[in-house]
Structures are given as structure tokens and as C-alpha cells.
């Protein structure tokens, strides 16, 4: 479950302040899939970064699993990400000095999981790359790298999966493959999925859509957005 209350982001660009994201309320119930779309510079990636605690908002609260993450320091944020949030990037961002297998292993090692090796093998199998574990990222194709990145994001069984243009750097077939994997995870594991894309066909596959324009939600074009008032009382 993700909840944003009046979250905004303003940066100083040159001498004038530039508002990337105007105050925004958003509620994503656990297990939902949400696509954030909009043209370049509309604030999609910024919003995703704020949800992941990769960035600090200029105002408002970001609540992940009932916890206001804007109050956490860097190290506790990192721990939270390690336990609860999986991340898939447009440019994969695998660690080039590690093999595919080791890339999947890392988050579990950080979280000190004892079954890390076995689980990494299982994840590689899940994304269909069992035989490629000993290869380095530079020896893999883009699609393969993104599947490894997905396996890595799932390593600690996070409740939330965030994806920033996960198919943006892939051809259509590979993009479709990744999208199927993401949605499969969302459905089978009931993982909350938030994905940023400007591909309308991909966005249509999600349960809900948030359309951003110039840092504001375009409510008229957004669909099936849940409201915070609808959440079940604890």
C-alpha cells in the first residue's frame, strides 16, 4: 500500500525555482497495478523516485506500508527499500563487475538471507535465464539484462515493485516479455506494481492509470484511481 499526501517537488534550476511536481494526493492499494504515463518532463520518474525514497519531496508525506518514509534517514530508507521495494530501471543498472547470478544475489546478501543462493537460482529460472547466471552484464542482451534486473528486484519478495520505463530500451518482443513477467508477478504474488511508461498499450494493461502533465495529475484522463478514503480501516 502506497499513499501520497500533498507530495510536491521543487528544484532550483539556475536562479529560478522550478516545480517538477505540484502537490499530489495518490493512493495505491496493496496488490494493485498502476501505470503512470505522460509526456517527457511531466514528472513521472520524479514521482516514482519519491515513492521509492530515492529522493526527498519538497512538501507532503509519502507513506509506504503505514510508515512515513520522508522522516527516515538515508540508511533506514535503504533498509526499507531492501525489504519492501523492488526497482526496475530503463537502463537496467546491473553492477557490471558482478555476474548475473551475483547481481541477483546482492539484495539477499545485504538482507542476510540464508537461502540466498537457492533463491537466486529459482529466480533466474523464473525469468528463464538459468543457463546465463555466470555471464557478466556486458555479455547479455538488453532483454536478458532487464530480466536479470527483474529477478534482482524480486529477490527479497518485496510488497512493492517499481518500474521506470522498463521496456523503454527494448525491442517490442523483449518489451512484451518483460511486461508479461511484471504483470505475472503482480497477479501471482499480489505485489503492488507501479510502472512509469509512455507506451499507451503497456499502460492499458495496468488496472489503473495516472496521467501526468506538467507536474499535475490529469484527472480527466486518468482511470480507475483509488481514493485514500476507500482504504479499509485497520
Amino acid at each position: 500500500m502506497i499513499e501520497l499526501r500533498g507530495v510536491s517537488k521543487t528544484v532550483v534550476s539556475g536562479s529560478a525555482p522550478l516545480t517538477i511536481l505540484h502537490p499530489l494526493d495518490l493512493f495505491v492499494p496493496a496488490g494493485q497495478s498502476l501505470a503512470i504515463t505522460g509526456p517527457s518532463g511531466s514528472g513521472k520518474s520524479t514521482l516514482l523516485g519519491l515513492i521509492a525514497g530515492l529522493d526527498t519531496p519538497s512538501g507532503g508525506e509519502v507513506i509506504v506500508d503505514g510508515q512515513d518514509i520522508t522522516r527516515l534517514d538515508e540508511d533506514r530508507l535503504a533498509r526499507l527499500r531492501g525489504e519492501k521495494i523492488g526497482f526496475v530501471f530503463q537502463f537496467f543498472h546491473l553492477i557490471p563487475s558482478l555476474t548475473a547470478f551475483e547481481n541477483v544475489l546482492v539484495p539477499m546478501e545485504i538482507a542476510r538471507r540464508r537461502d540466498a543462493s537457492a533463491r537466486a537460482r529459482a529466480l533466474l529460472e523464473e525469468v528463464g535465464l538459468t543457463g546465463r547466471g555466470h555471464h557478466y552484464p556486458s555479455q547479455l542482451s538488453g532483454g536478458e539484462q532487464q530480466r536479470i534486473a527483474l529477478a534482482r528486484a524480486l529477490a527479497n519478495d518485496p510488497g512493492i515493485l517499481l518500474a521506470d520505463e522498463p521496456t523503454g530500451n527494448l525491442d517490442t518482443a523483449n518489451g512484451q516479455h518483460i511486461m508479461n513477467l511484471l504483470l505475472g508477478v503482480n497477479r501471482q504474488r499480489r505485489t503492488t506494481l507501479v510502472l512509469v511508461t509512455h507506451d499507451a498499450t503497456l499502460a492499458a494493461l495496468a488496472e489503473a492509470q495516472l496521467v501526468l502533465r506538467d507536474g499535475r495529475a490529469d484527472r480527466a484522463r486518468s482511470t480507475a484511481l483509488a481514493s485514500a478514503e476507500m482504504r479499509p480501516t485497520p
Binding site: R79, R81, S97
Partner: protein, 843 residues
Amino acid sequence: MTFVLRMAWRETRAAWRRLLFFFLCIAIGVGAIAALRSIIQNVRGVLVGQARTLIAADIVVSSAQPWTDAARNHIAAALDGVGPVIRAETIETATMARPADPAKPLARMVEVRGIDAAFPLYGSIDLAGGRRYSHALLEHDGVLVRPELLTQLDVAVGDGLVIGNRTFTIRGVIENEPGRRVGGFSLGPRVIIDRDAVGGAGLLTFGSRARYQILLRVEERRVERLVAHLKAQFRNTFIGVRSFRTTEDDLGDDLLRAENYLSLVGLIVVVLGGIGISSVTRVFLEQKLRSIAVLKCLGAGTRQVLAVYVVQVSLLGLAGSLAGLGLGRIALAAAPDQLGAGPSALPLSHALTPAAMLQAIGIGVLIALLFSLVPLLRVRHVRPSLLLRHEESRASGIDWVRYGVTALVVVAVVGLAAWQAASLRVGMAVGIGFGIVVFLLYAAGWLLVRLTARLDRVSWFPVRHAALHLHRPGNQTRLVLLAVGLGAFFIVGIRAVQVNLLREMAVDVGEDTPDMFLIDIQEDQAPGVHAMLRQRTGHDPRVIPVLRARITQVRGRETSLDTIEDIRGRGSLAREYTLTYRPRLERNEQIVAGRFWDGTPSDKPEVSIEESIRERFKIDVGDTIQFTVLGQPIDATVTSVRHVNWRDSRAGGFMFVFRPGVLEDAPHWYIAPVRGPADVGARARLQRDLVVAYPNVSVIDVREVLETVRGVVSNVTLGIAAVGGLVLFTGIVILVGAVAMTKFRRVYEAAILKTLGASARLVGAVLVLEYGILGTLAGIIGALAGSVLGWAVTRYVIQVPWRLPLGDVLASVVITAALVAVVGLLASADVLRGKPLATLRAE
């Protein structure tokens, strides 16, 4: 923890090739420390274990005067009731020796040791050809000589050798003798005769310098108390008492000091490697920013990420240090197998000692860690949002942690230097000196790089691009300048000092300066010697009266030394001084305080002191110094302080000059500085004729001494130049490492240039120019700084006039430039060979 260790291992696995060169620098330094420490520790182990043999006894009591009855009684009383005692007596003196064959016009100064049948109490005298030594060989005027004397005097075993006024027969050749200082200064080769023959040959006439020794062998448990007792007995005399333990301690101290100073050389190389590591860590981290952001995104805390890289650096530091031990072991294999020569030589181990290995490894790892710490702190500022958009990872505001850590590193390096030198003062001096040199080289590098920035306006493509490359982001320009420049700095500095020193020594023997000194001329011989010198050299020689005296009391405003113990506490003030008296100043003297007497004799003792005496011992005009001349105390008032130009030593230099009127009646003798004939044959004949006519007169041939000094200077400069070479080599290794480090960028740029139509030749020209400029700058910086070092050392430390050896300096710039250009080009071979498409695709 397992995460940190695993990540460190994986990162090391991926990056070690690129980082290797920097750890090779650590390895060279660690190797130097381990090897130098080990070899001296091995030597010390051997020598200290043999301390008894070195002094040939348990206890040695020695004096510069013949034994008085009182002294003998004291010793006899002390030995009463200490159980079994074996004693031997020896006398040492320096004198001239010449072949008995009158057809051989040769004479040499030798160090005579007269021994009795009991000598040596420990160890053995070894003779060439495996002959056994027995005291019988010395009876009836037998003599044993060192092999070098045989060649110098063109004599053989069985020939006659005249020493003093007696002819001895050479009965054997000494290969090894106990009780001789290893590596000490000697006036000439050793000859051994019977103790009674020393006096018999007229070598103990008045004024001759002799050392009288009583050697004792007692039960081991008695040594310490006996030494203490004897020392107490001879407290206020100049009779010295030492045991083999003192020798052990002295030797140990000397060698320890040598060990500590030498390992500083290694430390400098390690620190240079450390600077390389610091710079390379910065570049390395630059390339790792994304990976760090990913780790943080996956849940790793800053501390964990920092730990990964700290462990990685430690691993590489350890690997470099272990490689260094390998290098050190290889270097040690080149050390001699044994100490000394002949059958009695002591076997010397080639092993690295555990202590040296431990220290060297510790330093290697520590320096690697210390120098990478500051750049690694940047890990703290890497934010995971970097993965979403490009952003700078800099701290906002003042980073106090960074400053704190930097200060800690500086303190730690000074601490390391102090630890290695075993002296805080030396550590500070080395640390600060090194810091200043590094800062100056760095600043000069910065300035010159700024100046070359203007070259990017040159229209010729290769020059413009070479200049641009020197400024590319993440460039290693200043690091290479520093590393190579430092090597050039040492070499140019040392070379400049050597050139000036050798030129100065050549000048000194030139013109009309004396090059032979006659000493121990007796009063009745003075007129004869004077006449002979005048006839043979054509000059009127100066024959100067001298006396030997010790200072036994000083009474002044700033210093009061009442007992001999006080004076001994002042170090060299306790030595025996040679005095003279004369009415006038010499040409090489000036009065700097007080007034020199007017030339008339006075029966009130007045003395003029040399200015260094005033500075070192705080004795000034108006103070009273008590001199003891042959047991007679003379209280003299200091009436003037002189500056002596020691380089112009025509008239000799004296620390103490008396006013005429007091010392004329005291027994004294003469010395004569002479400008000898230039012709080698004429010199040899003069020396021989002097020795034939006046057997007790010794001739010190300055030309020979200077030859020896020149040899020593060459050896020392060779040694220091080797250090410079080591530093320069380290600089070149750093250069190769820096090229490897930034190669990925260069390969990419070259690929783009080639795609745009540049030929391999053009790309090569850019590279040659880039490294040529870099090398020239490094050469200029090193040569400039080296010249300043040379000037400072020449002018203020050894105090000889300075002239810039322009040819050498220019040559060093050209050689450095060429070396860097060639090495840079070779290390960039891939850049030229690579096919552009593959490179561009990989990016």
C-alpha cells in the same frame, strides 16, 4: 559482514588489473623496507653475536698515555679476588713503513698493533694460505701484514720491512684479526708486531699518538661488576673502560639507526605509491558511482558500501605488500653471502626477518588504507536517485568529516615516518619536508598545466588535442607530474651536489695548497726537515709547533664544567685537541669577537678559540678554559674568537691558538704542511727519504686521502642516486597505471577520431605529444626543484660554492620527456590497434 567481504572480493576480481600498478608501487616500497631492514638485522645478528671477538676480550681498558704505576695498581686491585683472569696488553699507533730494499722508493702509512703472547683472548688471527698463527712468528722482529700492503710496497713474505728505526721480516699475511672495528676509518693497512718491538722501533717517542690497551678475560658473571668498579676507579681520568656488552650495545645502536634511516627511503616510495592510490581511488570511484547507487537502491547502507571499498583497498594493499616481500626476497639474494672474507668470514643469512616482514606489510596495508580513505568518503554522498537522472554527488556545505579524516591521515603518515626513523623529530622533519616538496611539485604542476591550456588554441590538430587530453576530466596529469617529477627531483638534486662537490675537491688540490702533511716531527728534527723540504720542493716550508692537550675545566658565564664527567657529557669537547701558539693571525683567519694579541709574548695564558667552539659549547670571550698538557694544568683566558676559512687550509686550522710566551717551554713537536712535487716518482722518493732520515715522522699524503674521499663520495652518491632511481621507477610505474586507468576513455576517443577519418598515425602523434608535454613538464619541475635542493645542500650543508650543472639539468629534462613519451605510447598500444566499431559498440 559476509556481504561486505563477498562484494569486496567480487570488486577486486573485476578491477585488480587496472589497480595493480598502483599496488606495485606499494610493493616496491614494501620490498625496499623489508629488504633493507632484514639485511641490517641479519648483519646485526651476526656482529652482535660476535661482540667478544670484535673487541677480542671481555673487558678492554684503554688509554692514550703509557700506563702509570697508579693505573696499573688500580687494575691489579680491582682484579684481586675476581677469580681466574687472563690478560693481554696491546699498543696501537700509526707510523710509516717502507721496504728494506733501497731500490724500492716507496713508503706507506700503516696502523701498527703491538701484541703480546696472550692476544687474542677471543677469536683468532687468521693468516693467508691456511697458516696457523702463533706468537712465535712475531719474535725476533717478525711482522704480519695485510695483503694490500704487499702490493702497495711491492714486497712479499720473507722480505724486510722498515718500521720506525728497525727492520722487520714479513712472516705472514693477515686475513682476519679480532679486535678491529668493522668499516671504521683507518689511516693505513694493519701490521702486527710484538708489543715490545713497538717501543724498540722508536715508535713511542714523545708526541707520537698511541693507544695503550689492557684486555681482560674473566668469568662472565664478573664482567658487569668489574666494569662498574673500574669505571668508578678511573672516573676523573681519560682512561676508558668498555666491555663486550658495551660494544654489543654501540654496534646495535649504530646498526639500528642505519636500519631506521634506510627504511625511511622505502617509506618515501610507499607514500608515493599512496599518493598514486589516492588519485586512482578517486578515478575508480568515479566509474563506480552507478554501482554504488544501485547498491544503495537495493538496501545497502552507506557504512556497508564504504566497508566494501575499504576492505577491497586493504586486500589490494595486502596483495601489494606480499608481492613486495617477494621483491625484497629477490633483492636480498643479491646481498653478499658472508660478512668479511677468508675462512673466518661470518655467514650472512639471505632470509627476510619476521620482524621486517611484519613491519613492511603493516606499512603497505596502512598506507593503502590511509591514502584511499579520503577519496572513498565520497561514497557517502552518492544518492540512489542518480539512477533516475544525472546529478552531481557532492556534499553541500563544509564536509568536516573529510577535513577531519585528511588531518588524521597527515598525522598518521608523520607517525609512520617517526616510527620508522624511531625518532619523532626525524619523523616530523621527513614528513614536513616531503609534504613541502610534494606541495611545491603539485603547485608547479598545476601552474604549468594551466599554461599549457593555452596550447588548445594552436591550430595544429595533434598539439591542440594533446593539450585538451591533459585537461580531460579524471585526468592523471598532476599525479604523473608529481610521481615522475619527484624521481627527476632526487636524481637532479643528487647529481648537482655530486658535481659541485667533486669540482670543489679538484680545486682544493690545485694551485699551491699543501697536499702532504708531515706530523710527529721532533724538536731536534725540525731544522733538518725544514732544510730537506726546502731543497726538494723549492719552497720555504712552514714548520708549525704543536702540543696536544685536553680540556679539563671550563668556567664561564654560560657554561661551567668542573669535572671530566661534565666535559665528557659535552661530547667532542672531551677529545684531545692539538694546540699551537703564534703572534699573528693567518691569512685564512678573521677575528669575530674580542681582540687578538699584539704579537708580543705574555706570561699570562691567553687563548683564541674558533667560532664553532663558541657556538657548540657556549664558551665566549672572558671565560677561562683549563687545558691539561702532559699532566700540567694551564688556565687560559679566552680573549678572542676567530673565524677560520677551512677550505683554505694552507696554514692548517686550529681550534685553539695560544699567545706566545706560555707554551714555548712545554714539550712540543712540529707539523709541516707541504706542497709536494707533482711528479709521482719525486713524491714517492721524497716520502721515502724523509722516512729514512726521520723514521718517527709520518707523512699523510692528501692526494691519497682525497682519492679515498672521492671513492666514498662516489659510493654515497651512487647509493642516493639508486634511491632517486627507485623513486623515478615508481613514477614510471604510476605513469603506466595512470594510462591504464584512463585507457577506457582514450580508446573511446580514439575510436571516434578514427571514425571521423583520423589515421592511426595522427592518433599516435596526439599520444606522443600528450606524453611528450607531460614528460617535459615533469622533467622541468623535477630539474628546477632538484636544482634548488642541490643549491641548498651544496651551499648550506656542505658549504662549497654552487654552480648549476646546466648540461646535466637539460639532459635530465630531455631524458625524462623521452622516457615518459615512450612509456605512455607503449602503454597505449591498444588505443592505436583497436578497431573503432568494436569500441563504439562496447560503449
